[in-house]
Symmetry: C2
Subunit: 357 residues, 2 copies
């Protein structure tokens, strides 16, 4: 099988980590029976500065028509308001209907900031909530008043909860075939919301998620819920307790950064933007202007995002190989980038992982 | 000076900690020249079940007409949607225009979960954002769609940023008169927002806060900003760096639970809902149905909330006395409630603190 992969480095260290992702795909053992072809695509703040458009139509078209999946690096946010600029990754998620943002956060033997093992995944709704970006500003007697719409639909809530249920079952299956890889024993989904304040929007998310997960398919999955503020508290206090956390877009955004902090560095945390039959791997970190161009960006988040993308394209054996190689690199701890307290360059970390494939 | 204080225990352990708050006020040294009178007021889910109204008008009237300040315990959230029920504390904040929710989070010598000293305060806007609770639901071809309004005004953003600036200056003054009580050296305000997605609403918050803090009054205050997801990440990774964090309502809600996790227990973290000339002290924890009625709720969050209320009523010497007594209790560590790994009852912790006044 040949997979065509769009490469969208974006800005800053995106240009350093996406090439590492490509190298990884090119280096996968031929025994997996996978071939890859690549197409370079533009998006980002630099693209905006050059063309006036952060996400050229051509990028979207090629992804839709030619590609099986893609890798997205990072985008810089302008430090002051820039008229007409709007985040290309948010737009891409919507235009390709990549309705789930899946963010696994897992400690390796090397351990976590809190000491206890963590093996959770945040399943974030990726198309609506405040990210519909419908805003307006009026001038009142006491100055400006701006309003934004938070939209929660039954349809989007149901499909994201279903995705969470599927992921919980899949993770359980993986635990059963490779015992000892996780401390978790049973599948669980935690629904996160703030329905004590937002009874209609978050109330709809909560009810719909409950309904979707009440499907007999998920009868082995324990379902519980947590108000978002208390979810953040619990995430810090007992992260090892959680398996799958499903959340509306904005809470998912916040929770995944919180979870990343627990494993030591954003440079470790991958994500995949997943739709029906398409997935974009995307490291959770940003464009990191402070280390841009130094060649020391941690490529692990991207390498894991490559695996995650492959997982959602149905290539689980290839994904498993990558996860194992990355874990081995981290567990040995000889080639670690500066964000993890090491001295290795992006290239050195990459080579070490490739060696272990 | 005699202060009249409304006592609103609310539900659950609110009924156990608010009496401790009253005892504390009654036990303050007479040398402070303060007297207190009290009025018991109803609010909460139990009040709703009895009267159909979680926040009786009488409670609001008496607070407005008779009281100088109040203490609020906690409210239970119904576990399923209950028609007509709506959080009384959210309503109270709006009806009394208590526009700032101030939540200091500080480690004592006893230390924090992360080991490094923390001395920050979250200044949360308390009247708008998604808490305006303007929601509607429509039935579309693909099921229900619910929308909520997130409202950000220049007026509210400006006054909360000004409050943050004032608090930064006040904290700096306290550090100067009592050196050694904090590791911080200069006043700083961090503005939190998500203007990379919400350019109008959070953009307005950001710009307005910047403008308010550019007032020469705050020329000694360093002003910086942090996108909310990255704020949560940084809060976990380097909490000791922060001084004053100012945020719109919902982010402030989430951040304060996150910060509470860093100091070991929600049972330690106080808050004050502050308006012009009025303040309601409120422990950050909830009604805690799991330990209700056992007499083991940690009263510290309430005792510190009493101090915070007094601070905002202009009674700083009384507040300082309480903070010192609480810190001494925690530092000795002999009478700690179960949430802190101790065995002391609410009553025993209270008596130990009173002894140290
Ligand atoms: C850059 C930003 C628009 C984006 C988001 O909020 O989704 C980022 O934080 C992420 O999590 O991918
Ligand atoms: C109980 C709830 C409505 C409240 C809030 O969201 O403000 C609580 O979480 C708080 O922080 O005081």
């Amino acid at each position: 099988r040949t997979l065509r992969i769009g490469l969208i480095p974006g800005d800053g260290i995106g240009r350093e980590v996406i090439p590492a992702g490509r190298r990884l795909l090119e280096s996968l053992p031929t025994s997996l029976g996978l071939k890859f072809s690549f197409v370079d695509l533009d998006a980002g703040f630099d693209t905006f500065k050059k063309t006036g458009n952060a996400l050229p139509d051509k990028t979207v078209d090629i992804l839709k028509k030619e590609c099986d999946g893609a890798l997205f690096g990072a985008v810089s946010s302008p430090s002051t308001k820039v008229a007409g600029y709007s985040s290309p990754i948010v737009a891409l998620r919507k235009r390709l209907d990549l309705y789930a943002n899946v963010r696994p956060v897992k400690t390796t033997a090397g351990g976590s900031a809190t000491g206890s093992p963590i093996d959770l995944v945040i399943v974030r709704e990726n198309t609506e909530d405040l990210y519909v970006k419908e805003e307006k500003t009026t001038e009142g007697p006491e100055g400006k008043v701006a309003e934004a719409i938070k939209r929660i639909s039954e349809r989007a809530s149901s499909r994201i909860a279903t995705m969470a249920g599927e992921i919980a079952l899949r993770r359980q299956k993986i635990r059963q075939v490779s015992p000892g890889t996780s401390h978790l024993s049973k599948p669980m989904v935690t629904i996160t919301h703030k329905s004590n304040v937002l009874s209609q929007t978050d109330g709809l998310f909560r009810e719909t998620a409950r309904k979707a997960l009440a499907n007999p398919k998920y009868s082995t999955v324990e379902v519980e819920e947590q108000i978002v503020d208390s979810m953040v508290y619990k995430l810090f206090r007992q992260p090892g307790y959680y398996d799958v956390i499903v959340a509306p877009n904005l809470y998912g955004d916040i929770l995944s950064d919180g979870a990343a902090a627990l494993v030591g560095s954003l440079g470790l945390v991958p994500s995949a933007n997943v739709g029906d039959g398409f997935a974009i791997g995307e490291p959770c970190h940003g464009s990191a202007p402070d280390i841009e161009g130094k060649g020391i960006a941690n490529p692990i988040a991207t390498l894991r995002s490559v695996a995650l993308m492959l997982e959602f394209l149905g290539e689980e054996p290839a994904a498993a190989k990558i996860y194992a190689a990355v874990d081995a690199n981290l567990d040995e701890g000889k080639y670690l980038s500066p964000d993890l307290g090491g001295k290795a360059t992006t290239q050195e970390v990459l080579e070490d992982v490739l060696k272990r494939l």
